[in-house]
């Protein structure tokens, strides 16, 4: 019963032009991704390193038979690196890119909440010029007086050189 009402609620909330976001933290900052693109949340486990790739691409793991890359989001965003502990969390995201389903894991400090966010209240990301890269940010939202940085999952998964690598071979140096 509860499940039914939950899905009903979900449908209703979607009808009302709002979306659910999974929020997680990187240091002091709080980020959010569309919850529908989250496949699962895992604890950190050692990866197999991939040679000659950017350092934020930590390596690959075996996710039930599929080879899935793990990206350190702190390093990706040029934040200070922190040690991996048993509490370090990997958020596995899935999206469709160029007609193919693509799965990838993001290393984050911790997962905090699921928030309903009204689409109207989402601000576009301010322009910091060249100081801060805003390429992955789809917008900013206010949740309980805290700022949530919403990430564009498609860009996040694409800009890791996954797609450009396949098309133009400029990453081989």
């Amino acid at each position: 019963m509860t499940q039914e009402t939950d899905t009903q609620e979900l449908e209703e909330t979607q009808l009302e032009n709002s979306m659910q976001f999974l929020s997680f933290t990187l240091g002091e900052e709080e980020y959010g991704v569309d919850i529908l693109s989250v496949q699962e949340i895992r604890s950190w486990e050692p990866v197999s390193r991939i040679p000659n790739v950017p350092s934020y691409e930590k390596g690959v793991v075996n996710l039930r038979g599929a080879i899935v890359p793990i990206i350190d989001l702190r390093e990706r965003f040029n934040l200070e690196h922190s040690e991996y502990t048993n509490l370090t969390v990997v958020v596995v995201l899935q999206t469709i890119l160029q007609g193919r389903s693509r799965t990838m894991g993001l290393v984050v400090d911790s997962v905090s909440d699921v928030n309903n966010i009204d689409l109207q209240s989402i601000q576009s990301a301010p322009d910091f010029g060249t100081k801060v890269s805003t390429e992955f940010i789809s917008g900013l939202a206010l949740v309980e007086e805290r700022m949530l940085i919403l990430l564009d999952v498609k860009k996040l998964l694409k800009l890791d050189g996954v797609d450009d690598a396949a098309e133009d071979d400029n990453d081989e140096s």
């Binding site: 991939i50 690959v60 799965t103 690598a165």
Partner: protein, 692 residues
């Protein structure tokens, strides 16, 4: 009735292509002198189901076309028509045309109407009498006329006169004329005239027999096929004649006269002149139609059949095994629930069973991907038939071991190289009939395609009894082309391998069949990229054999695990030549940097794995501390410097690109026994990487 028919399209296309293959092989097997009616029936059935299917899905172009074929085949089946080589050739051409039409529809391209019209015309000419052969030069210029006639046929407000005389036992077969008439009346205005002459006196009358006959006048825009469909079921049980009203006479005339006079006869009609004016448009369409084909080529590649037909037997075995696995699992969980040390034997037994079942399961799952090589071989009879006609050679093709099973991927990738090899044998290998007789050989040349298993490999051989390879000729040619040093000493095998060099062609003149010298090196590269190799043996004047050695599957690989620091990599076992420990005096440096070592008489580059892959934890940094694995990857040889060898194992190949990207020096990944991921090395890529 809002069923989305599109979901069945794929099935229809697969079945239709299969049907076309059946028709093709049937036609090729037709023996002119002594025709097996069963073969004709098979061909007819295949055509019939394509017609039915295409009609259902609304591909009218296909069903109209198939209908003409079917009519011709039907007459052959009933023995009303002599089966001639000309007719078979026309039918073969139509099979090709149908295949093109179907793949055009599948890829959502436009159908090449000109070629369709051409083939249809050829069929109709064949259909309209034995004299058809004289009219056969069906030039593309004429072809639009057929379209015109077809259009006119369907466009004119006409009608049909049907005289229908059922045999007495029609009713016993469950056919009811009344129902048929009702169906006819749905097509147009139906006028029924009954003929009571056949009815006997009352006391002689058997109520289960039919003594009536009818003349039906059907008015309206009705296609002949629609009427045929209604009478399809009673064809054998009645005397039926269907004639066209109004224009009927003209059309009957037209069908009997030769095509060139068709136009003259029909042009006076106003409607036709306007139709004819449309012809230039039709021609204009030809060049434009080639563009979308190119643009959509990518798509058609992607649409290449991703489904697979599996023998139900294989599925049954699989289900049995899963059953066994479930039983073992429940047994194990029972042991685990109330575990005490005395049950350790139970546990061990259970684990042994589990291992066995898992392995069996793995094998049978792999088995599902296996297809008989006949999927590839079946296209060759046609190829040989066409090519030998073209080259004026007499050739018999023998297929051996068609049921040998190979992985689906191998089947898909091997077919182009094989086509090339068979063409080569046909063109270069087999001599002209006169030369053969002069050489004391039978007039008909023999090409054998054979497939068999050897170890974990499949061997495919292309054998011909032609003139064989001339070593001196090959050698001179290579020197002449600057591909070979005139002083080089070559073994026989090396001589033959010259033909795999790029830019080497021995054909005296370039034909459109072969001889451009771009083929064989591509063939070898393709086969090597499948992890196989290709070998030639040949005897001058006796023939040559080209054998291709391929791994059975591309999904599993025999690998050697190597350790570099705390990382593990997999080297394909097939590419390892040997592993050696080296000492300092074996190593030479080129320009102070590039390290080489001497293996017997050869200097090979050393690829330091920990440098190339930036492994910081590597234990061995001096060459004497570690091991050198000598590898050969697609002709590139080198020594891989690693810490240690771990063990050999079969690994399941997993794509790295599915979720990630291509990594230089790595071909794919696999999952090791402990669940961690190991990278499978790509030797040529590694060498490139170490040179940078």
């Amino acid at each position: 009735m809002s069923i989305d028919m599109a979901q069945f399209h794929q099935v229809f296309f697969e079945e239709s292509f299969e049907g076309l293959d059946i028709m093709e092989s049937g036609l090729l097997n037709l023996d002119m002198g002594d025709v097996d009616s069963e073969v004709i029936n098979t061909i007819f059935r295949a055509a019939h189901s394509i017609k039915g299917g295409s009609g259902t899905f609304g591909f009218t172009a296909v069903s109209d076309f198939t209908h003409v074929m079917e009519t011709l085949l039907d007459e052959m089946r009933d023995g009303r028509r002599q089966i001639t080589q000309a007719a078979v050739d026309v039918l073969l051409g139509s099979v090709d045309c149908l295949r093109e039409m179907l793949s055009a529809i599948q890829d959502e391209n436009d159908i090449d109407e000109v070629s369709v019209a051409e083939h249809k015309k050829a069929l109709e000419i064949e259909l309209n009498g034995a004299s058809g052969k004289d009219n056969s030069p069906a030039t593309p210029v004429e072809s639009p006329e057929t379209v015109v006639i077809k259009e006119m046929e369907s466009a004119t407000e006409s009608g049909w006169k049907i005289s229908f005389c059922p045999h007495a036992d029609l009713l016993k077969t469950g056919n009811d004329p009344v129902r048929m008439f009702r169906e006819l009346s749905e097509l147009g205005d139906l006028e029924v005239i009954v003929d009571l002459h056949g009815v006997p006196a009352l006391f002689e009358l058997d109520p289960e027999e039919c003594h009536l006959s009818w003349t039906l006048i059907l008015k309206g825009n009705v296609k002949r096929e629609e009427i045929d469909d209604i009478f399809d079921w009673v064809e054998g049980e009645c005397d039926l004649s269907i004639q066209e009203l109004n224009l009927g006479e003209a059309l009957v005339n037209m069908q009997q006269t030769e095509p060139s006079s068709l136009v003259e006869q029909t042009t006076p009609s106003d409607s036709l002149i306007t139709e004819n004016q449309e012809n230039p448009e039709l021609k204009k369409n030809i060049p434009t139609s080639s563009k979308p084909v190119q643009a959509k080529e990518k798509k058609s590649k992607g649409a290449a059949s991703t489904s697979i037909r599996v023998d139900t037997g294989k599925i049954d075995t699989l289900i049995n095994m899963v059953g066994e696995l479930v039983i073992t699992q429940s047994m194990l969980s029972l042991v685990g629930e109330h575990f005490s040390p005395d049950k350790i034997d139970h546990l061990k037994n259970g684990l042994v069973q589990l291992e066995r079942h898992t392995r069996e399961l793995q094998e049978s799952v792999m088995n599902i991907r296996m297809l008989p090589i006949s999927f590839v071989f079946s296209r060759f009879p046609r190829l040989v038939h066409d090519l030998s006609t073209k080259l004026d050679k007499k050739i018999e093709l023998k297929l051996v071991g068609e049921h040998t099973e190979v992985d689906k991927t191998v089947v898909e990738l091997i077919s182009d190289p094989l086509v090339h090899l068979v063409r080569n044998s046909l063109d270069h290998g087999i001599e002209m009939p006169a030369d053969r007789i002069a050489a004391g050989k039978p007039e008909v040349g023999l090409i054998t395609l054979e497939a068999y298993h050897r170890g974990g490999n499949i061997v495919i051989e292309v054998k011909d009894d032609g003139k064989g390879l001339n070593k001196d000729f090959l050698r001179n040619k290579a020197i002449e082309k600057g591909l070979l040093d005139p002083d080089a000493v070559l073994t026989d095998k090396q001589c033959y391998e010259l033909i795999f060099m790029a830019g080497f062609s021995t054909a005296e003149k370039v034909t459109d069949v072969s001889g451009r010298g771009v083929g064989m090196d591509v063939v070898r590269r393709n086969i090597q990229s499948l992890g196989g190799n290709i070998e030639i043996t040949s005897h001058l004047g006796v023939g040559s054999t080209i054998s291709i050695n391929l791994p059975l599957t591309l999904a599993i690989l025999d690998g050697q695990s190597i350790a570099v620091g705390d990382e593990t990599f997999i080297v394909p076992l097939g590419s390892i030549i040997e592993s050696i420990k080296i000492n300092d005096n074996m190593v030479n440096r080129v320009a102070g940097k590039g390290e080489t070592f001497r293996l017997r008489d050869e200097y090979l580059p050393i690829v330091r794995m920990h440098h190339v892959f930036n492994v910081k934890s590597a234990k061995a940094t001096k060459l004497t501390e570690g091991l050198l694995v000598v590898v050969d990857g697609q002709g590139v040889r080198c020594g891989l410097f690693v810490d240690d060898l771990l063990g050999q194992q079969q690994v399941v190949i997993k794509s790295l690109e599915a979720n990630y990207r291509r990594v230089e020096g790595v071909s794919s990944a696999t999952i090791l026994g402990d669940g961690s991921v190991a990278l499978i090395l790509d030797i040529p890529g590694l060498v490139r990487l170490s040179n940078q």
